[in-house]
């Protein structure tokens, strides 16, 4: 009983787990439900965690699988409901409208539109700073798949954001 209380260790991870869950769900209430479900699941399966390995990557994996198991359906229902409410979401023709919105909102929308599997990898590598290998291990996918999903997501974002990079533009 001299090891640290696992519950306290999970609590110390909560800010990062919530950010990750927010990236998956785009809804703060759903994100907190997801984090709570994942933490309780982790405590039930605590014997499966191998001391000495990264608790964070184990937890990110549980958050992700819990999301796939329990929350994707809810998320899909929510998206369909939103689509019903807003049939005139701007497409290519609506670019002008998008540009008038705040940059942050535009970016958030672009991220939400990414396929789920690309967004998970984007959150883990670009936002959370996991290595490709740790991400591949945590998600149980090959390293090459991490790289291809990640680059598809980032190329799409960089192109859509229309950043000029003028400083380095060819003369």
């Amino acid at each position: 009983m001299t090891e640290a209380d696992p519950r306290a260790e999970l609590i110390s991870l909560l800010p990062r787990l919530r950010r990750f869950a927010h990236g998956l769900t785009h809804d703060s209430h759903l994100a907190d439900d997801l984090v709570q479900a994942a933490c309780l699941k982790a405590l039930e399966r605590w014997h499966q965690w191998q001391p000495g390995t990264s608790l964070a990557s184990w937890m990110f994996r549980i958050v992700q699988t819990t999301w796939l198991d329990d929350h994707r359906m809810r998320q899909r229902q929510k998206t369909e409901a939103l689509d019903d409410e807003m049939p005139d979401l701007p497409g290519e023709d609506g670019r002008v409208v998008l540009e008038q919105r705040s940059q942050a909102r535009h970016l958030r929308q672009l991220i939400e539109q990414l396929p789920d599997d690309q967004r998970v990898v984007l959150m883990m590598v670009t936002v959370e700073g996991f290595s490709y290998k740790d991400t591949a291990d945590a998600l149980g996918i090959p390293l090459g798949t991490v790289m291809s999903r990640l680059s598809r997501a980032r190329i799409r974002l960089a192109d859509a954001l229309n950043i000029t990079g003028d400083e380095y533009a060819p003369q």
Binding site: P6, L10, P15, S28, S148, I163, D166, Q171
Partner: protein, 268 residues
């Protein structure tokens, strides 16, 4: 050959092996267009990170913390789990009790933001602003009413310095009283040019309240070396040591046992 976007991304992530890294470096030297593309990718990444910064910094809801603390301790084996539950409420229930009290008050506590402070893997708590002197009216012999201090005495290991809202609280050590209950020595001070410093000893009563057994207060200049806080003087420490010698073994409880006592609600 122009490196692909995928290679540029791996370059940004520090995921290329040395040989390929050097090739990309050389290609970047030669090509303004490639540098522009790298810049676009890097700027896009930076915006993605920034857009999630608020989610990282948002206060963690107390309900979420309480739900985790209320879960069974997975370190207990099946036999221990099957054993009769202690009649004392567990740590999680106690913390939730405080959390609910704090939420009920909806006072200018900013408790939610305080919960965002997670002190070394443990829950931080609220220390009220100095503008509410009644909350800090500590008097020997009275039970401690401040929820932040109550939670700290009940759950925080010794040796932690907690700072919030212009106050600093340090739990110095725990002692076993000759009457078989437990006492904790703590030091609080406010930040400011002239700050009152309290060195206190609180003892846990059978009903779970913490009663102030001793309080030695002094006003004095803040110590710039302590970021504007101050610590107890020799005179304060001598008074506290006198009390501890007379009423306890005088030896602090070791950290492992203290941790067990916190987990067991301070029952011997």
């Amino acid at each position: 050959m122009r490196p692909s976007d995928e290679t540029l991304i791996a370059y940004l992530d520090g995921e290329l092996d040395a040989a390929v890294f050097d090739e990309v470096d050389a290609a970047l030297q030669d090509s303004p267009a490639l540098r522009q593309r790298l810049q676009q990718l890097a700027e896009s990444d930076e915006r993605v990170r920034r857009s999630y910064q608020a989610a990282l910094e948002a206060p963690v809801p107390p309900e979420l913390i309480a739900a985790i603390l209320n879960a069974p301790d997975p370190r207990l084996d099946d036999r221990a789990r099957a054993a009769p539950q202690p009649t004392q409420p567990g740590l999680g229930a106690r913390l939730r009790h405080w959390v609910e009290r704090l939420l009920d008050q909806r006072a200018p506590l900013a408790f939610a933001s305080v919960l965002a402070l997670v002190a070394g893997g443990w829950v931080a708590w609220s220390i009220k602003p100095v503008a509410e002197p009644a909350e800090w009216a500590l008097r020997s012999g009275e039970t401690i009413q401040d929820p932040g201090l109550q939670v700290a005495l009940e759950t925080a290991p010794s040796g932690r310095v907690l700072r919030a809202a212009g106050h600093q609280l340090e739990l110095l050590a725990s002692f076993e009283h000759k009457d078989r209950h437990f006492c904790r020595e703590f030091n609080t001070s406010a930040r400011g040019a002239q700050a009152v410093d309290h060195l206190g000893i609180a003892c846990r009563e059978a009903d779970g309240e913490w009663r102030l057994a001793l309080l030695v207060s002094e006003e004095g200049p803040a110590d710039p070396a302590l970021d504007g806080y101050r610590t107890a003087s020799d005179r304060q420490h001598e008074a506290a040591d006198g009390y501890l010698r007379a009423n306890t073994s005088g030896e602090p409880i070791d950290p492992v046992r203290e941790r067990q006592l916190i987990d067991r609600t301070w029952t011997p």
